[in-house]
Amino acid sequence: MVLLLRDLFRAALFLITFFLGIAGLYITLQADFLAAVQVLIYVGAVAVLILFAIFFTRQVQQGNPPNRFRWPALVVAALVFIALAGVLANTPWAISQEAPPAYSTGALADALFHQWVLPFEIASVLLLAALVGAIALGKEE
């Protein structure tokens, strides 16, 4: 629906529903902190940004037309799905019987600040760079 709707605004609302659905899936996977992060960042920031951009670049005649590559794109997407789903469903995963931690926040914080602290710091530098870049690109001449 996100990709096929003509009205871009409705497509963005479906994207918000998509993000909320993914957050629900995280909760079923015992990733409660990640679900909260997903709602906060994706619904709260990314979707709002996309809505801003849609209102800013409103083109009511065209909306959401398909490309001239739509049939090759459909074929490629179908091939990718068959290959991926085939491999993923037929691999013998070593499923363990342990229980995941009851509240994932502690385990996530342990991992983020002990083992993965360097990517964490680099991610904050990345966010700074994105901020500066977006401001620089958004300035009017």
């Binding site: 998509f18 990640l34 951009a53 083109q59 959401n64 996530l108 977006a134």
Partner: protein, 103 residues
Amino acid sequence: MAVSLQHYLVLSALLFSLGIYGVLGRRNVIVLLMAVEILLNAVNIAFVALSRFVVPAVVTGQVFAVFVITVAAAEVTVGLAIVMAVYRRRSTVDIEQIDLMRW
């Protein structure tokens, strides 16, 4: 039937292929960015599902998912800034008309 790992992974593959169709087959640049968000969420599901079923005690998949969310947020910001800059100049968001760098 119990929801097993394969269900989550097939869902992730389905969302990934839908995102690929969106990136390749749509004209509006903002729809492209939304399709990229679909792609990133699909791989996040795969990360978290694999982490929960294969190594539940160590939440490595969720750590990676946090980083993917971070990178996605940064990328959407810069991408939309570029879209707005291009729109200001060319008054269009149709990628078939923004072919300044094509041969």
